[in-house]
């Protein structure tokens, strides 16, 4: 053991979480709390012929039953304002809320739900993504053209957001190719599936409401309440107790307004806690199913000359935050490759399914799976090793990507070389094993963010931040950044976070952005205190502030360590005069200008700030008799910039890879003919267990990234989820002799593919 090793990272919230003393939202009880329950549509598409809640309201112990008639008549949605809090006239998916009940206890609330009379006149169910695009397809939203929407969106009937990226001349490129490979792939939707089901508690005092909720994005949740209940932000306070995981599933604005409305109507605190089934069917945040059509033209020497992609994304019944998915998926479908002639066309399609929304790297894992499966087909068609093919065509420093962005320092090729070498790629393997390789990419999201830092008279500090911790440790790492700025220890600081009335804005635990943006803010806030401490020390030590160094808990004159004063002493002095308070935000890094591509439906997703890259090389064993694939080893290499918190970072890779294995092999939503989920339970859905988990080798390619986050950090939480399923697919395809064209690649699908005559669909 090295005696100079860096102290181990122990989370500030760790003791709460291992002792059971930490409170999550469902653990909170306020005096007089009522139980909330929702009445769901249960049918996928119907007109409400009759809705009568009078019998439910008459049940003793029922304090309120609300419908759309009882709340402001507001349509909301971040990209398309296509939704109301409760169904109005028409229900469009099974998990749509028709009414909400607040009652004295669970059995009474359940009786009230049963007493609500609702009669439906069925409408045709839009259950297929491609069929929904037909000119005569039934409309999910009859009034789509009247909805408010972001100006940049290109919409037409069931197509809620069309985007294209065009570069060069794709037809001429195809004509110049020696070989053209065409592939079709279909990815099923799947779920974030955090272990904590969501919960909301709301309480009014006067005209102000406090809402404790399981959101990843407290300020976004606040904005949703303000919009739908028509209140100013100053009267809505969102507090997030410990959050039991999110993975994007708890992004956005969900049920905070429903519960607040119930609490207002009943003049009592109200608590909603979801069952696991509700967690599966109701939120507008599940990973979107996508249909893909790829065509790549390649020279005999392995140079890609043209790529054409068509894809259609299942938007579900409402647009939620998926408005940018079409352009994002188009980027992932063209991939981190040098493609001189490119055309990607992407549709975001309304169906009568649960709405899609940002789940850990939205659109990326399934699009990477399809593109990278296709890429192995292309390499095979020209008889080239798929790794050599990738290295030849991958984007690299100074090279131009498919949207015209010329990349500054990036480490994708380093990732490919490291992951494959560490996996033993090329070594002999048993005939039922293979190593599959895939590459992926993901943006860092630059955004406004704020934090305060203060140091009290006893020398202990607080970081008061708008950032949200969903488990990744990103907020926990702020202590390290602030402590380093001030020459103190992380343990000297407590975190005050997840409270919109205490802290300045942050976008939340979304887009892997917490450390990237809030780290910048916290460092800026600490920097103000550093200046104050240096001035105080300079006055005391009769030196210039510029010569004061903060280290090891003391302020010292540079080069004269004996002239020193403890920071705690300076804090004591400040406590009687000008207080030690810093505030920070900083300027978010700007994206490069991009030229050379023409984009329709441009939502700003073609130029990426500090893009992240990855390569996964996965060894898989396939039982040819049953189609059961088992992942034996995963080798990962990531360029996510500088790694600031190594334990946290490796934890993100391990968790992201495991989620990727689940998406590859078992996790997929199955619909019946009526558009209802058939496997809305954990056993039927099947997450990976501890016994399924393979060894995961982790390598970080840390290069000096220009225009990145603090200390050269990029994002990290989503990137490890991008390439795993694709690498598994390529391993299975090698052993099976043919790719599996539907995700998840369940044993049944693998077996069927291997036992189907001729070329699979």
């Amino acid at each position: 053991m090295s005696t100079t090793s860096v102290p181990r990272f122990v989370r500030a919230d760790g003791p709460d979480k291992v002792t059971g003393s930490g409170r999550y939202t469902a653990d909170l009880t306020l005096t007089g709390t009522l139980v909330a329950k929702f009445k769901y549509a249960e049918v996928s598409h119907a007109r409400i012929a009759r809705l009568d809640v009078s019998a439910a309201r008459a049940i003793p112990g029922v304090f309120a039953v609300l419908t759309q008639d009882d709340v402001p008549d507001v349509r909301f949605g971040p990209f398309v304002q296509d939704r109301t809090l409760f169904a109005r006239d028409v229900v469009r998916f099974e998990g749509e809320i028709v009414a909400a009940v607040a009652a004295i206890d669970v059995p009474t609330a359940q009786r009230a739900l049963n007493a609500i009379v609702v009669e439906y006149a069925p409408l045709p169910v839009v259950n297929d993504i491609e069929a929904a695009l037909a000119a005569d397809a039934p409309l999910v939203h009859e009034g789509w053209s009247q909805y408010g929407a972001a100006d940049v969106l290109v919409r037409e009937r069931n197509d809620a957001s069309f985007a294209s990226i065009a570069k060069g001349d794709v037809e001429r490129g195809m004509a110049e190719a020696d070989t053209v490979v065409h592939s079709r792939y279909v990815a099923d939707g799947c779920h974030a599936a955090p272990i904590e089901p969501r919960a909301v508690v709301a309480q009014w005092e006067g005209n102000k409401v406090t809402i404790w909720t399981t959101t990843q994005v407290p300020f976004d949740a606040r904005a949703g309440v303000c919009e739908t209940l028509e209140m100013p932000a100053s009267r809505v306070r969102i507090i997030v107790p410990h959050l039991g995981g999110g993975f994007g599933g708890k992004c956005g604005f969900h049920y905070e307004a429903h519960v607040a409305a119930l609490a207002k109507a009943t003049k009592r605190p109200v608590r909603l806690v979801f069952s696991r089934r509700e967690e599966f069917i109701a939120p507008d945040r599940r990973r979107e199913g996508i249909v893909f059509d790829f065509e790549t033209g390649v020279k005999a020497d392995g140079t890609i000359v043209a790529r054409k992609v068509w894809l259609a994304i299942d938007n579900g019944a409402y647009t939620a935050d998926a408005g940018f998915f079409s352009q994002l998926a188009a980027m992932h479908a063209l991939g981190p490759y040098q493609v001189p002639n490119a055309l990607a066309e992407a549709h975001l399609v309304y169906t009568n399914h649960q709405p899609s929304g940002s789940v850990r790297a939205p659109t990326a894992p399934q699009t990477c799976w399809a593109l990278e499966s296709h890429t192995d087909e292309v390499a095979k068609a020209i008889g080239m090793d798929p790794v050599a093919f990738r290295i030849k065509n991958a984007v690299a420093t100074g090279k131009e990507g498919p949207s015209g962005q010329v990349y500054d320092e990036i480490g994708l090729v380093d990732c490919i070389e490291a992951a494959t070498a560490r996996a033993g790629y090329g070594d002999d393997l048993p005939d039922d094993e293979a190593i599959g390789v895939a590459i992926g990419w993901w943006p860092s999201f630059s955004a406004a963010s704020g934090a305060y830092v203060k140091i009290d008279g006893d020398g202990s500090g607080q970081i008061i931040t708008g950032a949200q911790e969903c488990g990744t440790g990103a907020v926990m790492t702020l202590r390290q950044l602030v402590a380093d700025e001030l020459g103190m220890q992380p343990e000297d600081f407590e975190l005050v976070y997840q409270d919109t009335s205490a802290a300045p804005y942050d976008m939340g635990a979304t887009g892997s952005q917490t450390l990237f943006n809030n780290g910048r803010a916290a460092i800026a806030a600490a920097g103000q205190i550093a200046e104050q401490l240096k001035q105080l020390a300079a006055d005391m030590l009769e030196a210039s502030p510029a010569d004061i160094v903060l280290a090891d808990g003391a302020a010292s004159v540079a080069g004269t360590p004996s002239r020193s004063v403890p920071i705690t002493e300076l804090a004591g002095i400040a406590a009687g005069g000008e207080l030690l308070i810093g505030h920070g935000s900083g300027v978010p890094p700007a994206a490069q200008e991009v030229s050379g591509a023409t984009c329709i439906g441009d939502v700003g997703m073609t130029a990426w700030v500090a893009p992240q890259f990855s390569c996964h090389a996965v060894r898989v064993k396939l039982d040819r008799d049953t189609g059961v694939a088992r992942v034996l080893h995963v080798s990962t290499a990531h360029d996510s910039g500088t790694i600031i918190n190594r334990i946290g970072a490796t934890g993100q890779v391990e968790g992201g890879v495991m989620m990727g294995i689940g998406q590859a092999l078992t996790e997929g939503t199955r619909y019946n003919d009526e558009g209802q989920q058939r496997n809305a339970a954990l056993l039927e859905y099947k997450l990976q267990t501890c016994a399924d988990a393979p060894p995961i080798d982790i390598h970080f390619v840390e290069i000096n990234t220009p225009n990145a986050g603090p200390r050269g950090a990029k994002g990290l939480a989503e990137a490890p989820n991008v390439a795993t399923a694709a690498a598994i697919a390529n391993a299975i395809a090698k052993i099976a002799g043919t790719p599996i064209r539907q995700l998840p690649m369940t044993a049944e699908r693998v077996w069927e593919t291997m036992n189907t005559e001729g070329s699979p669909a």
């Binding site: 291992v18 904590e196 696991r276 990744t472």
Partner: protein, 158 residues
């Protein structure tokens, strides 16, 4: 409410009088009546293990166990792992190894691991993986949790 019954539960060595409907599961009684919320509800269907407690040392999903049937048995929840100010080695090691992220599966995971080490003081990695396979974790990929259990076993039985 004719089905309300009075009985006693022994949780973490302490006796609690309970006055609750006969059909209540152990999870809801521990959380709402005993007042200990460290035990979590993730699925209410024996699928996730977040609600795991020990009954006379045996791991049980408390969501699917009637509270009245736990009378006369020693119930251990996550709150009972720590003795005084000192964390149980499993609690300390899961933190130091980085096996806690969101923390929602952690209580069940810790109790599952406690039971495992009780019946098998020197488990192999595979023993640990199988022993914990009834506890779902979505954050960590399990590697650091397994490392924490193995480290604890090595510390307790060098």
């Amino acid at each position: 409410m004719s089905d309300i019954v009075n009985y006693h539960l022994t949780v973490n060595g302490m006796d609690y009088p309970v006055n609750a409907a006969q059909g209540r599961n152990l999870l809801s009684v521990i959380r709402a009546e005993v007042g200990l919320t460290g035990t979590k509800e993730g699925c209410d269907d024996c699928e996730c293990g977040a609600c795991m407690v020990l009954l006379d040392g045996q791991p049980v999903n408390s969501c699917s166990f009637l509270a009245v049937q736990a009378q006369g048995r020693a119930i251990t929840t996550v709150e009972g792992l720590q003795q005084g100010d000192e964390m149980h080695p499993l609690q300390r090691n899961i933190l130091e190894e980085g096996g806690v992220q969101c923390g929602f599966c952690t209580p069940g995971m810790l109790l599952s691991a406690t039971a495992l080490l009780e019946r098998n003081p020197s488990p192999t990695e595979e023993d640990v993986r199988i022993g914990l396979s009834g506890n779902l974790c979505r954050c960590t990929g399990y590697a650091k949790i397994v490392a924490a259990v193995q480290r604890t076993a090595a510390e307790l039985h060098p």
